[in-house]
């Protein structure tokens, strides 16, 4: 089962992010799938996130992946509030109990991820950070968040980005040395996204859109494309999956042009339903205005659809030219791209869904992602964690005269707090948790079966 054992010895990795199941999204599935593949490769992995409603405490997922849902207050958009100190007691307990060697934080929007990085450095653990999003430089809010990112990443061992554009963005935002930033793309599970041409209605042409209906996904552009093309092609149908504040715009367009039978708005989709929607279409349209990687177009291509997308962010890096038609983010350019795809479809020069699927299948797999992430861990494990004095120097020299000194002071306070906590409950009296992960973990051992009844198992759709 394991595709070759870990080269540099097994790591004990703690994934920290505010975003995890039951919340749905790119970061959530990334953390879950990466953890599963790392467990498969023989590492110990646990996930730390905040409590979601009544889901709090410890849960076990497939293959004994242990998830801590910590009782921390959610502030905004599923991100916890940060004081930089209040999470130290809890996180220290976890890091010590689980004998964590590497802390891997995800998403720059997650306050908990930054907190965990800060505490891990104070405790002398190695740190890795994965950035999943792009950010601008122009307005006040981005200037402030970029400064915080600089502080958070200046003494982090290694950073992972999901595309080359994202790497350039992160290097500029956090003023980093590009050599400590690796590019490891996201992946999709190709067995979840298989083509099924029998589900298509070939008497019509169906364009599928699956995205949250928000401004950043370019739904305003879509509201211009729909009437433009529906007037030109009477056999054209649109299938829109997703929910959001821009839904009203699409409804108005549908009303205004009397397209109720040709534009179907499906509302929010469960992750497992996405494939069933995708296979009903011939062409997939993505109108995003900014995107670090864009899993949606890979999922669509994996289902054998012709992809038409805007040329923004990391999208040009994701699919080869013969599988995607790239357009400028304007109604006219996108209509031209779609018309090109329709012409190809009518003349039958489009590649068959099976060929496209077989090509895309080889591009992005979670096993490959895990392999490359493992290399990052091996590299980090050989590095030294900055001792306190050098860390303070780095903060003061790297983050500017004001911010640098403030955060250096915070780092000292955090260290004193840690010393106090160690005096209250020494590391030696904290129990070591039983390792339940993986095929060789306690999970599968004979003596553990008696306890299994007590452990809940959650099977998210994978």
């Amino acid at each position: 089962m394991a595709a070759g054992g870990p080269a540099g010895g097994a790591h004990s990795v703690c994934m920290v992010s505010d975003f995890f199941y039951p919340n749905m999204g790119g970061v959530e599935s990334h953390v879950y799938q990466l953890s599963q593949c790392l467990i498969e490769r023989g590492h110990k992995v646990l996930v730390v996130t905040h409590a979601y409603g009544c889901r709090k405490g410890v849960r076990y997922l497939t293959n004994g992946l242990k998830v801590y849902y910590l009782p921390l207050k959610v502030m905004y958009n599923q991100s916890t509030a940060t004081t930089l100190f209040h999470s130290l007691p809890l996180l220290r307990y976890i890091f010590v109990r689980e004998r964590v060697t590497i802390v891997h934080a995800h998403s720059s929007f997650s306050a908990m991820a930054h907190d965990a990085l800060f505490h891990a450095k104070t405790m002398g653990l190695r740190t890795v950070f994965t950035d999943h999003s792009l950010f601008g430089f122009a307005d006040v809010s981005s200037v402030l968040t970029n400064k915080l990112l600089t502080v958070s990443l200046c003494d982090t061992n290694h950073i992972v980005c999901v595309s080359y554009t994202s790497k350039e963005n992160t290097v500029l935002r956090a003023a980093l040395d590009p050599r400590i930033v690796s590019v490891i793309p996201n992946a999709v599970d190709p067995t979840d996204f298989t083509p099924d041409p029998s589900r298509r209605d070939d008497s019509t042409i169906t364009i599928v859109v699956v995205s949250r209906l928000v401004y950043r996904k370019g739904i305003d552009l879509l509201s211009g494309i729909i009437p433009e093309l529906c007037q030109k092609y009477p056999e054209l149908h649109f299938l829109v999956g997703g929910e959001g504040p821009k839904r009203i715009v699409l409804e108005e367009v549908r009303e205004r042009y009397q397209l109720h039978d040709r534009v179907r708005l499906l509302g929010a989709l469960e992750h497992q339903d996405v494939r069933n929607v995708l296979v009903q279409g011939h062409i997939f349209l993505n109108t995003s205005l900014t995107e670090a990687f864009c899993m949606a177009i890979v999922e669509a291509a994996s289902c054998g659809l012709q992809v038409v997308s805007t040329r923004v962010g990391g999208i040009p890096e994701v699919l080869p030219e013969n599988l995607i038609i790239l357009c400028e983010p304007s109604v006219k350019s996108l209509c031209d791209g779609l018309e090109k795809a329709i012409a190809q479809l009518r003349s039958g020069t489009l590649q068959s869904p099976e060929t496209v699927h077989n090509k895309v299948k080889t591009f992005y797999t979670w096993r490959n992602v895990a392999e490359r992430t493992e290399k990052v861990y091996d590299r980090v494990a050989d590095e030294v964690v900055l001792p306190m004095d050098e860390r303070l120097n780095r903060l003061m020299s790297h983050c500017g005269p004001v911010t640098g000194y403030i955060f250096a002071l915070f780092a000292v306070l955090n260290f004193l707090f840690l010393v106090f906590l160690r005096w209250m409950t020494p590391d030696s009296i904290i129990d070591v948790a039983i390792d339940a992960t993986g095929p060789k973990g306690a999970w599968t051992k004979q003596y553990f079966f008696g306890k299994k009844g007590r452990v809940k198992e959650e099977l998210p759709s994978s």
Binding site: F135, F137, Y164, E168, N169, R179, R256, L289, T290, G314
Partner: protein, 284 residues
């Protein structure tokens, strides 16, 4: 090496290519300013400062009894009529034809406004009697400052609000008018405030757009008049005000142009794309 993710390349994941950051663009939207143009535009600020100055000096004279309300009313009426004629003459009536507003409508609103102010002037006079004079002065100063801050100088910013600005100026004038000896004084003061804070900027805007040379001349003359008026009240104040005007019209543009060279704005493929088309036509 290619900038693609779908191919496995024989480089480590943290490989940094020559082409790293080659699509980085700097200062795409940065504007190059010319000194003369900035000085010309600063005229709007100078004009507004002078308006406030003239208003306060006029109030001072009224309060000291050196200016009769009849005299001020007459002078203001004459200059308003002159301005009214000028307002249409500058663009030879093009603006009026566009808006479709008749002279009868102008006369009506003037009469209604004058009648109401005259009728309510005894109320204005006694409105703030129970408030201490110091409070009134502080409040007027604050309101005039607010007027200057929120005034529409032609910048496209969130802070600009001409309604708020005008309201603050009128509030200040009501406050100050209530400290004058009689209700006729109060009536004349409020009308004068209307003329200098509401009508005068409209004429200025039109002058600036149609005859820039004339506008520069008017600005200089107005500034000199304000300074002369202030000098009769306080010579130190006049010197300070003169240096403020000079700083705004000469020093500030110079600083702006110097600082503009230090601008370092980063653009690249990670920027959020802007929708440049007008999409509302699809919903019309």
């Amino acid at each position: 090496w290619q900038k693609v993710l779908y191919e496995r390349q024989p480089f480590p994941d943290n490989y940094v290519d020559q082409r790293f950051l080659e699509e980085l663009r700097k200062n795409v939207h940065a504007r190059r300013y010319r000194y003369r143009a900035v000085v010309f535009q600063s005229g709007a600020v100078v004009q507004q400062l002078c308006s406030v100055c003239v208003f306060v000096v006029t109030w001072w004279y009224m309060d000291a009894g050196m200016l009769s309300p009849q005299g001020l009313f007459g002078a203001a009426l004459v200059s308003s009529l002159l301005g009214y004629v000028l307002f249409d003459a500058v663009d030879s009536g093009a603006g009026r034809r566009e808006s479709g507003r008749t002279r009868w409508a102008d006369l009506k609103s003037t009469l209604v406004f004058a009648a109401f102010t005259y009728g309510f002037s005894p109320v204005l006079k006694t409105l703030t009697e129970s408030i201490s004079t110091d409070t009134i002065y502080a409040m007027s100063a604050l309101m005039l400052l607010g007027h200057l801050i929120f005034f529409d100088y032609g910048a496209n910013a969130a802070i600009v609000s001409s309604t708020l600005s005008l309201n603050m100026a009128i509030f200040a004038s009501v406050c100050l008018a209530s400290r004058l000896p009689r209700s006729l004084h109060a009536f004349v003061m409020v009308t004068f405030a209307m003329q200098i804070f509401a009508l005068w900027p409209m004429l200025q805007k039109k002058l600036k757009a149609q005859t820039p040379r004339c506008y520069v001349g008017v600005t200089v003359l107005f500034a000199l008049a304000a300074l002369a008026g202030l000098a009769t009240v306080s010579s130190v104040g006049a010197v300070l005000f003169a240096s403020l005007l000079l700083a705004i019209s000469c020093l500030c543009p110079y600083c702006l142009i110097r600082l503009q060279q230090l601008k370092d704005n980063i653009h690249g493929p990670w920027d959020e794309a802007e929708i440049k088309e007008d999409l509302s036509r699809f919903l019309m």
